[in-house]
């Protein structure tokens, strides 16, 4: 099947292209605006490459099915939006606890509740970190255009497999639905990480072994390793435990396997930040406008920069602090009532003024709005 | 807005027990609610309606109407009521 490598795609379509490139061969989902095109494209494309698509009875089942299929040995994905993401939370927690790689795409729309199904929002940012009960650590990745949705989706899969953990890919209605020309990557153009398989003899296999990087090798089913997977807090053998020492070890593992590699996971795009006195911090579709506003300000002679977060979680406070070391003011622009702004506050010293530039009425932030805000602070 | 145009029936006498010649037309059509779905036009057993330019019903053969209820119970937008029932 030879198709032109440059194609007009919606962000949702770019996500499917990225996922298939990364090796995704199992999709389970339940339709919901504005993510539905992802399911529809998977339904069409997966059979063609020997993959599997199933429409489950709801989002809870969708999340369950991708975990089951991932434990069985496939790279898996689901996609949803706010209400479905909320429903998935319990089983996302199961994926954290069982250290099962998988990618959950959340194409964000306005909330809470049914909210604004066809309107853009970034208001599930904090939920992507704290949505399920208990202690754990989360990875969330956020592209800002149709074009970078392809590599960022690949990166989401790589992180999931590399760290044996669920990864949330945060899109939003604008990116998901907008169409742009995208050059599809050639084989080999991006690294594709495949999960590390055990080399121990089956009888010596310790499924949740504490390896140096805290990630345990993971066999597929029918590879000769039979072990127990449970959502109960468990020891390295995978057996439930109530022992305080073993409990702490497990939770530390879940946290540290990510925290210890924050630098590997965190990704941002800093533009014109070297000497910036005022900076924008943003992510997702908003970053397009912030970048333009910053450039215009530079043209007008002001030392303004832009930081775009490609990784939202884990939030890398150190990097942000370093990048903003010359800033006296940071404008955090997001499509919600102020979520990542709190993290930026945490990252920066008290003498840096933090200006939230928030919009939560279903529309995106315009360059004019950003410039107007800039005018106030420069 | 109500369709009050009377369009003459061309062919045979209607079987209706109603005599519309003295009063208003058999039906009231709320054109601002009508979505031109064609159901009333297609389902009327007496071919009372013709579509207008927008596809909305015009009572082309009013005298045919037997007040059988079919059009108004099937109108999904409550755009049809009877002037007689």
């Amino acid at each position: 099947m030879d198709r032109p490598t440059k194609r007009l795609l919606q962000g949702n379509g770019a996500c499917v292209e990225g996922a298939i490139y990364a090796g995704m061969r199992f999709y389970a989902g339940y339709p919901i605006t504005p993510s539905t095109e992802i399911a529809e494209l998977c339904a069409r494309q997966l059979p063609r490459i020997g993959g599997r698509f199933i429409q489950m009875e709801d989002e809870i089942a969708s999340m369950a099915a991708i975990v089951g299929a991932s434990v069985s040995g496939l790279k898996t994905m689901t996609a949803t939006s706010g209400p479905g993401y909320s429903l998935m939370q319990e089983n996302i927690g199961y994926a954290y606890m069982t250290e099962t790689p998988c990618v959950i795409v959340n194409v964000q729309r306005g909330g809470p509740s049914t909210g604004l199904p066809t309107k853009v929002s970034q208001s599930d940012t904090m939920q992507a970190r704290w949505g399920t009960h208990g202690d754990y650590n989360a990875i969330a990745v956020a592209p800002s255009s149709v074009g970078d949705t392809v590599p960022e989706t690949i990166r989401a899969f790589n992180l999931a497999e590399r760290f044996r953990t669920p990864v949330t890919l945060l899109l939003d209605e604008v990116i998901g639905h907008m169409r742009e020309m995208v050059t599809l990557p050639q084989p080999g153009e991006y690294e594709v990480f495949n999960r590390v398989k055990p080399t121990a003899r089956p009888e010596d296999f310790v499924p949740f072994e504490l390896t140096p990087n805290l990630v345990s090798p993971m066999p597929a089913y029918r590879e000769g390793y039979r072990y127990n997977v449970t959502g109960l807090t468990h020891d390295p053998m995978g057996f439930a435990t109530n022992r305080a020492d073993e409990i702490a070890v497990k939770l530390d593992k879940l946290t540290n396997k990510i925290d210890n590699f924050k630098e590997e996971i965190f990704k941002s795009r800093a533009e014109m930040m070297d000497d910036a006195e005022v900076a924008f911090v943003s992510y997702g579709s908003v970053s397009r406008a912030t970048l333009q506003a910053a450039s215009l300000a530079r043209q007008a002679g002001f030392k303004v920069g832009s930081i775009q977060l490609y990784t939202i979680w884990p939030f890398d406070y150190d990097t942000i602090r370093k990048l903003c070391s010359r800033c006296r003011c940071v404008i955090v622009a997001e499509l919600n009532m102020g979520q990542i702004v709190h993290e930026v506050e945490k990252a920066l010293p008290e003498n840096v003024e933090i200006q939230p530039m928030l919009r939560y009425d279903g529309e995106i932030i315009t360059p004019e709005q950003l410039l107007a805000r800039l005018e106030e602070v420069i | 807005m109500t369709d009050t145009d009377r369009v003459d029936a061309s062919g045979a006498r209607p079987k209706s027990k109603y005599d519309y010649s003295q009063g208003p037309p058999p039906l009231n059509i709320n054109l601002s609610w009508c979505k031109a779905c064609n159901l009333c036009i297609a389902l009327c057993p007496q071919q009372v309606f013709e579509p207008d330019r927008d596809g909305k019903p015009v009572q082309a053969r009013p005298d045919n109407c037997t007040q059988c209820t079919i059009c108004w119970v099937h109108c999904p937008d409550f755009a049809i009521t009877s002037n007689y029932k």
């Binding site: 539905t36 399911a39 009875e57 | 064609n38 159901l39 999904p76 937008d77 009521t81 009877s82």
Partner: protein
């Protein structure tokens, strides 16, 4: 059931929600409007007070219905209408609680609440508008999409089996179960009346047209064509009795399929406990 004057053709106008913009969001010709008309006329004939009716729905084209009517309306989350409705009914047992739901809403995400409401035999009337597809989200397959049919998520024809909502309800314990179509209006209206008057859980499955998606993707034509199709393919329970399984294939059997008036009702039974143990 109060005796009422002979019903006027404009009776439904008395029940439309004041201050709500009309016409509805539905596509031209969508069967949802026909069911809404039947429901209003049934309520009017039964003489219920508007205050005593709570209409609960989930999410879907169908589920937009309650907002258009001047009853207590609760437009909840996708699939959960029956669970919310259970709260309403149990809190206000003297009300008529009606759930309006789609095939996806009731049987996909909402399947569990559906079977449990049937099991409890709680006195809720459920009108399930079965258009064989997810209308609201743009034409994905639903648990009633027939094998081989096309939808945006079954681009090569559906490989799944489908639920028969009525059979599922009977297996789960519902005490009134019937099937109607949007073509067969008088039967539909009558069945809604019977369901409303039935004490216990009642299900009215209404075969309806989503020509915008199901019709288009499966070459069944527009609203009119689909209604005609329902007409041709329907047989009454009476006639169906004398037909073979083969003859019944691809037919809609319409009419009352199950009725059990002996089964006790949940709220009633609970009230007995309260009466026996109240201090």
């Amino acid at each position: 059931m109060a005796t009422v004057e002979k019903q006027k053709s404009d009776v439904m106008l008395n029940y439309l929600r004041p201050r709500k913009k009309f016409p509805s969001v539905w596509c031209p010709g969508c069967g949802n409007g026909i069911v809404m008309g039947a429901f209003i006329r049934a309520v009017d004939k039964l003489g219920y007070s508007k205050d005593d009716i709570a209409m609960v729905s989930g999410i879907g084209c169908t589920s937009r219905m309650p907002v258009y009517m001047d009853f207590n309306s609760l437009h909840t989350t996708h699939g959960r209408a029956l669970a919310f409705a259970t709260g309403v009914k149990f809190a206000q047992p003297d009300m008529k609680v009606v759930v309006i739901t789609g095939d996806g809403d009731a049987l996909a995400i909402g399947g569990n609440h559906f079977i449990h409401a049937c099991r409890r035999n709680i006195d809720i009337t459920t009108i399930l508008i079965n258009n064989y597809i997810y209308g609201m989200t743009g034409g994905q397959g639903s648990p009633t999409t027939p094998g081989g049919s096309y939808s945006t998520t079954t681009p090569y024809g559906n490989v799944e089996k489908h639920f028969e909502p009525c059979h599922l309800a009977i297996g789960a314990g519902a005490s009134f179960v019937g099937r109607a179509t949007v073509y067969h209006y008088p039967q539909l209206e009558k069945m809604i009346m019977q369901a409303l008057e039935h004490k216990g859980f009642s299900l009215v499955e209404v075969i309806s047209n989503c020509h915008t998606y199901f019709g288009r993707l499966n070459r069944q034509g527009d609203a009119t064509a689909m209604l005609r199709f329902f007409k041709e393919r329907s047989v009454t329970t009476a006639r169906a009795k004398n037909m073979t399984a083969e003859e019944l294939e691809n037919k809609y059997v319409i009419g009352n399929l199950h009725e059990d008036n002996e089964k006790t009702e949940f709220c009633d039974e609970y009230q007995k406990v309260v009466d026996a143990h109240k201090a």
